[in-house]
Symmetry: C2
Subunit: 262 residues, 2 copies
Amino acid sequence: MNQQTSPLQLRKKIRSGEFTGNTSGYSQGYVQGNLCVLPADWAGDFLQFCQLNQRPCPLIGMSGNPGDYRIPSLGEDLDIRTDIPSYRLFEYGELQREVTDVRDVWRDDLVTFVLGCSFSFEEALIADGLEIRNVSEGVNVPMYRSNIDCTNAGRFSGQMVVSMRPMLPADAIRAVQICTRFPSVHGAPIHFGDPGMIGIRDISNPEFGDAVTIRENEVPVFWACGVTPQVALEQARPPFCITHSPGCMLVTDLPNSHLAVM
Amino acid sequence: MNQQTSPLQLRKKIRSGEFTGNTSGYSQGYVQGNLCVLPADWAGDFLQFCQLNQRPCPLIGMSGNPGDYRIPSLGEDLDIRTDIPSYRLFEYGELQREVTDVRDVWRDDLVTFVLGCSFSFEEALIADGLEIRNVSEGVNVPMYRSNIDCTNAGRFSGQMVVSMRPMLPADAIRAVQICTRFPSVHGAPIHFGDPGMIGIRDISNPEFGDAVTIRENEVPVFWACGVTPQVALEQARPPFCITHSPGCMLVTDLPNSHLAVM
């Protein structure tokens, strides 16, 4: 298996247990998504939270009726219960365990949400010749809790989590241009420069992911981050929730270019 | 006469001598252009200089045969010799005098170039709710000689002149998005933040235009500037050249939206 494995092939290997790891770098050119599965009586609030906070929570797919574990618009033969390498099970906002299959805990009232992730725009930036520090240093992108309030929706609220990639100013300008084409994977950066302006006290100490080198003349550039809804879920404490494990994403059949609005 | 005077009406008043001032704020919504008129034996080099340096020298119109003083694509009944409020006459790169009509010095070998100007993108930024400091402070935009080399073309060379507008980072990101739509009026900023990175020693001391206030948390944002070709002309020292006087632009019939590429 290599980077060119098709999304369908990759999902089949995930389903069979042959592939269990991080999906970063696999099936290049195709959209990978964040997973969130909630009981139907929490789904309305969560859908509204995504709608009101599209920068951190860009919805790229959703199941039809409660209990559906297929989303044909995202993938041929896709089964949400088996096709993700690793799942996290939460009860009342607390992580219970990580599993590679959720068929045994699946319920008839579960609704699935798939949110865009930064892999898509990182690929577009790298294709344009920009260096993405977390990629070149082989670590997870650094993420921070900001002081930017999300818009509340029912039981969901919280502050925006942001990811950071250091860049020279001219590259940051180019990144704004490229990422603007991809609103469904967080879109343009929301801030650059002084971390304190968005409530980040120590740039060398990310709350999620890993610290990366910031070189001379580079400025930190901040994007809205898909960890935001997970923090909102932890605060809302629904009795049951399934997410993907960090880095173990749903690999869809959508080409990244399909998300470009222009 | 008011801001809504049509470009044709305004040009007629300029031609008759009724209007002789700065065109900033007049015929809002329409493209205003920088003027450069050169003898035919210098026109090829200048055209190549514009082609190779499109960010500072975005060509929006050019006369047909040498001697032509009409550019129908830019304006109905347009006469380049009379329809600009104030002209500057140069000989060998030295300013000779300012006049309101160049019919008496017009020659059969003159070629006219019209370059896009920042008024168009400033209007788009203001329409989107951004504050443009030089506009709100009622002064000319501050401009600086940078250390960014232009690409040489024949006898033309020089370093890029940049204009500066201070903005909060989130507004600067929005400005990149909006200005990207307008490549023929300098496009996206080329730099933000540390002025020293592009060879500017004292941000409070612009080489052209006026200093503006930079408030707390704002960063200076720099655009390629249409004064760049004027500096290149001063260095190349053609025996004869006509430009507009600063702020006294050619007002065209093109709606600003016509320049948007998307």
